[in-house]
Amino acid sequence: MKVRIETAAMDALMVRLFDAIDEANMAWVIAADQALRNAFGNVLIDLVPSYTTLLLHYDCQQLAHSEAMQLIHKALSGLTPVDTKAGELHDIPVWYDERVGPELPLVAKRAGISVNELIKQHCNHDYCVFALGFAPGYGFMGLVDESLATPRLKTPRRKVAAGSVGIADRQTAIYPLLSPGGWNILGRTNVPLFEHAKRGDPLFRPGDKVRFRAISRAEFEADGGDTTPMEERP
């Protein structure tokens, strides 16, 4: 890891740690996040970590650009990675079904496997949460097995139901709320990602692990899941 600090805006700096996506980077990104929050205190307006970077927005009424740069250098000197085992492991029940996961056949066909085998493979991995973004509580997770990697839809859907579980290339994610989107949808979960984010207490945090678990329609319904088929939604 080599810390590079770049100007991003009048009062924002980009802290660049790596140049490639790698699960092993997360221990450093999380450590940097904690160190920067501690160092900046109430001078910090926003800190947005992502795969390889942290965008730091500071209060320029309290700190000049050069001072902010120095403070970042100081905060990150001698940084040590956090214990990656500290991240939570989330068990996410998913109803995999063509009615709520219209791309199940497409992804299975591309991989040359049955839909059942696809479901098994999607569940058979602890995905790392790399970043939160796109929508409140939306976690970018990966990496999906190479054989299941599927490019985004050519034409994004105008409306993807809340709880939809999808794949784009080697990433997987859950839509926290009804939104437009172009990911390949495999199923639906009832975990309230959006409600958590709205309370300021996201279910997923960078560095967490997520394991999907296939459930039946009956189990999904018993949990209060919305079984309205994707294409029928208004």
Binding site: T7, C60, H65
Partner: protein, 316 residues
């Protein structure tokens, strides 16, 4: 709407006709970018602050951001002093034009209407003590895409029958000092931009064109982003690993036409960027109607901060 006048706490002003877009906004939602929650807030924060200043409100009090006007009208149920700043949307009080950038009194039964933009795009209507609206994650900013904020906590704009109420009772009677106050942009205006490090990935030709050629504000423009059209800018990067996006970021997708990311932008994204417009330039751009010509003019971060702090001093 109830015909029975109840106590004052429940009366207010009622939407009689909904225009294209009127949103409750404050300064925005901060410290939540890491949750994937956007900043939101008044796009022209300068006009927004003046509106609150005119009534003696705290400067980030919730107010209305009215885009285009387009027939939006209100009727008041009780006497109130409001302040209107920003774009000239041909606002009328019972058919009589209202003075721009000033406060005015509204009497029970009087009707306030916003018609068509004549100069600028967004008007700000402030209420004594700020609007009553539910607070989510420390802010009353309304973001449609995220279904957060607004009168009904669904991020939706004002609709017919909505009743707005406010917190304060005795607004100040202030006038904007001569030579100060919101300025609406004219064609050919300059948008200061702080250059970012990815600038190095653009070709010399692209950089020359970016800063020596006028850009046209496209009609694909909203609170999330404003597209600019002009020469196609190309560089060595087509996409990057998604990273945080600051306010005003000028991202260049593969078609070479820049998009300026505004208040309701996504929190992270993966297109290379020229840099970011200053907050003052973002306020300017948010008032530009489609087809307005703008110039991107590089400025250092420290110069931009000096200009910003000077602007903040206007309200001290």
């Amino acid at each position: 709407m109830s015909q029975v006048t109840t106590n004052n706490a429940q009366t207010g002003i009622v939407v009689k006709q909904a225009g294209p877009l009127a949103l409750i906004q404050d300064a925005g939602r901060f410290g939540v970018g890491h949750l994937g929650v956007t900043q939101g807030g008044a796009a022209d924060w300068i006009s927004f602050r003046w509106a609150n200043w005119l009534l003696g409100n705290a400067l980030n009090s919730a107010a209305l951001e009215i885009v285009m006007g387009g027939g939006l009208s209100f009727e008041t149920e009780r006497e109130v002093r409001l302040a209107l700043t920003g774009a000239d949307l041909d606002a009328q009080l019972d058919g009589k034009p209202l003075a721009p950038n000033a406060s005015f009194k509204l009497l029970p039964g009087q009707r306030l209407e916003f018609r068509q933009p004549r100069h600028g795009l967004r008007a700000y209507l402030a209420f004594p003590g700020g609007l009553n609206a539910p607070e989510v994650l420390g802010s009353r900013a309304c973001t449609a895409r995220e279904q957060i904020g607004g009168l009904h906590e669904d991020g939706k704009p004002l609709k017919v029958g909505d009743r707005l109420t406010w917190k304060g009772t005795a607004p100040a009677l202030r006038r904007i000092p001569e030579g100060q106050g919101p300025l609406m942009p004219t064609s050919g205006c300059r948008l200061p931009i702080v250059l970012g490090s990815q600038i190095a990935s653009f070709s010399g030709r692209a950089l020359f064109q970016a800063f020596n050629h006028p850009w046209k504000v496209d009609n694909r423009a909203d609170r999330m982003g404003v597209r600019l059209t002009g020469p196609a800018l190309h560089g060595s990067l087509t996409g990057i690993i998604s990273e945080g996006i600051p306010l005003g970021a000028v991202q260049v997708p593969p078609d070479g036409q820049p998009i300026v990311l505004m208040n309701d932008r996504q929190t992270i994204g993966g297109y290379p960027r020229l840099g970011a417009l200053t907050p003052i330039a973002c306020a300017t751009l948010s008032q530009c109607l489609p087809a307005t010509e703008v110039w991107l003019t590089p400025v250092s971060a420290s110069q931009a901060q000096d200009d910003y702090l000077k602007q903040l001093n206007a309200w001290i």
